[in-house]
């Protein structure tokens, strides 16, 4: 029974026509995937991208084959969709992805502890951490979020983002270094 509860088994069952398996799968991954997009773009766009990823997954259910971990498969779809979104935005704004994220005035989901009155020492530290996370380059932030939200390993991050393992490791290393620096500065 434990074998049947894996993501891959659930996806196969859904591909065979079991809608309940998809519900389980969706309930398991909707939060992390939604936060993945929420950390990368605006909330409204995050909702759109989130829905698109699940629709693509539904559409490709008949051709699904277990070649990798389901999360890797899911976040690869999410990464591709995010890259498309970045390209469209860059084409629209004729700016780079970094500049676009700054010019849009996009403020990633700010913690509720941002209000000065509510900020205590730890919360302020977390707020600074969140700010540092938002200021990370997109690739480094994506690698860190994939690790935190999806629980992906280095190889899985590399597979999901279509890069080599060393590239993924380098991105994650830079992200960890910068975030640690942000935490230590507050201390």
């Amino acid at each position: 029974m434990a074998t049947d509860d894996t993501d891959e088994a659930l996806m196969l069952r859904y591909a065979a026509g079991d809608a309940a398996a998809f519900e389980t799968l969706y309930a398991r991954h909707k939060g992390p995937l939604f936060r993945y997009f929420q950390r990368q773009c605006e909330p409204s766009q995050a909702e759109e991208l989130f829905q698109d990823v699940w629709m693509r997954l539904i559409k490709s259910r008949e051709s699904y084959q277990v070649e990798a971990k389901f999360t890797t498969y899911l976040y690869r779809i999410a990464h591709n969709r995010l890259v498309d979104h970045y390209r469209m935005r860059a084409r629209r704004d004729e700016t780079s992805l970094d500049a676009a994220s700054e010019d849009d005035g996009y403020e990633p989901a700010a913690p509720a502890t941002e209000e000065p009155s509510a900020i205590s020492g730890r919360r302020e530290q977390v707020a600074r951490f969140a700010e540092a996370l938002d200021n990370l380059p997109e690739e480094q932030r994506e690698a860190f979020v994939l690790r935190e939200e999806g629980g992906l390993s280095l190889d899985e991050i590399a597979a999901a983002t279509n890069v080599g393992r060393e590239t993924a490791k380098s991105r994650l290393r830079y992200a960890v270094s910068r975030l640690r620096k942000a935490l230590e500065e507050y201390r």
Binding site: Y26, F34, A109, F129, L133, R173, R180
Partner: protein, 419 residues
């Protein structure tokens, strides 16, 4: 920060329990980000719809069935329709062709037409060559096109015929059959068509090959026959007009050729006349020269008057011949026509002609003229000698002695010849 410490921090982070993970967990807890309910409903609804197509299954199956069988069924329908159309049209066209060539025999209006045909045995199946004998040649589409829409109307008189009490019998169905079929009167249009047919259609001698089953000739067939006869008459008329036009053009061409040949004959006659005149003139000139030379060479039995008279006659003949040519083309007297030089003898003789033509003709003038001719001949001999032509001088002297025998030869000439 060194790369080694970064790698160490990364290893600690990947191992778990890192403060970064704790900090991110606090962020995640403080901002419980979950998709909205309507997104959940939309995604789950799409997932259920994609994997649970039970209500749509029959439709899909029906669609796939229709998609699968649409092409074969349509092809089969096309084939069946084509075959049925061919089967229906072919006997109809054959019957129409046969009836177009046959003359109706069971109609009152068509009765005069029967007299045009020769009586013969009835042949239900007329041979196809009968169609070739028709002047119309190949069949056109027009009669067939008019035949098909009118077919239902052609069948309508049948019940009426039965209602009139004229039962269809095999005898009535045959050509020249019973009077019951004749009692069926076609409409005025049919009568007109039949009359037109009588006027324009040539008498046919082929056998009637009407279908024994049809006792009444339909109206539309009579109209078609009349139309065909009208077309044939038009074709004949056009042919006659074309032949007439061709004959007119031929006559015009003949007239033009005759005029041209007459012109050529006249030109040829004028040329021949000119040539004859030229020949006569040349002949007269030649005769004059011969006579002149004869006069010079011939020994004169009598006085010089006879030879001079002969010269005059020759000169008159030459003048008469010269009248045939234009005055300006006539050469001057004593002029060689070939090179235009003046011959001494001819000049001398010609110079004497006007004097000799005078009616005087006395002996003194003749002697004077002979003396002058003798002197001229001597001058010619001397001229030859002065130019060193001894042979010519001897010949001229011989002629001189022949013409004037007894006349002494001057000593200077003898000396020159002796040298």
């Amino acid at each position: 920060m060194s790369t080694a410490s970064d790698d160490q921090h990364l290893e600690q982070y990947l191992a778990g329990g890192s403060e970064l993970t704790d900090a991110y967990a606090e962020i995640r807890e403080s901002t419980p980000a979950l998709p909205p309910m309507h997104l959940d409903a939309r995604v789950l609804g799409a997932a259920r719809q994609s994997v649970a197509p039970e209500p749509l299954a029959p439709i899909a199956r029906r669609q796939s069935f229709s998609r699968h069988w649409a092409l074969p069924v349509s092809l089969a329908a096309v084939v069946v329709l084509s075959v049925s159309l061919v089967v229906v049209i072919q006997p109809t066209s054959q019957t129409n062709d046969q009836r177009a060539l046959s003359v109706p025999s069971n109609r009152t209006d068509a009765a005069p037409l029967e007299t045009l045909s020769t009586p013969g045995p009835v042949q239900p199946d007329a041979p196809p060559p009968a169609r070739k004998s028709s002047p119309g040649g190949s069949r056109s589409l027009a009669p067939r096109a008019t035949l098909r829409p009118a077919a239902p109307t052609a069948r309508t008189p049948l019940p009426a015929a039965s209602a009139n009490g004229s039962e269809r019998s095999p005898a009535a169905a045959r050509p020249g059959g019973g009077s019951s079929a004749r009692s069926l009167r076609p409409s005025s249009a049919a009568g007109t068509a039949a009359r037109a047919l009588k006027d324009e259609e040539p008498p046919r001698t082929d056998a009637r090959n009407e279908d024994p089953g049809s006792t009444v000739r339909p109206l539309n067939r009579a109209v078609i026959d009349a139309e065909r006869a009208r077309q044939q008459a038009q074709e004949r008329r056009a042919k006659v007009e074309a032949e007439r036009e061709v004959s007119q053009r031929r006559q015009e061409a003949d007239a033009i050729n005759a005029a041209r040949s007459a012109r050529e004959d006249a030109t040829r006659q004028a040329l021949e006349q000119t040539q004859r005149a030229e020949q006569a003139r040349a002949e007269a000139r030649r005769r004059l020269a011969e006579q002149a030379s004869e006069n010079l060479t011939r020994p004169k039995p009598g006085p010089l008057s006879e030879s001079l008279e002969r010269d005059k006659n020759a000169a008159r003949g030459a003048e008469a011949a010269g009248r045939l040519v234009p005055e300006q083309a006539r050469p001057a007297p004593g002029t060689n026509e070939a090179d235009g030089t003046v011959e001494p003898e001819a000049a001398g003789a010609g110079a004497e002609v006007p004097a000799a033509a005078t009616p005087a003709g006395d002996v003194a003038s003749d002697q004077r003229r002979a003396t002058r001719a003798y002197q001229l001949a001597l001058e010619i001999v001397r001229d030859h000698l002065s130019r060193g032509r001894l042979d010519a001088a001897r010949a001229a002297l011989t002629q001189l002695q022949t013409r004037f025998p007894g006349q002494p030869v001057p000593s200077d000439i003898e000396a020159a010849l002796a040298q």
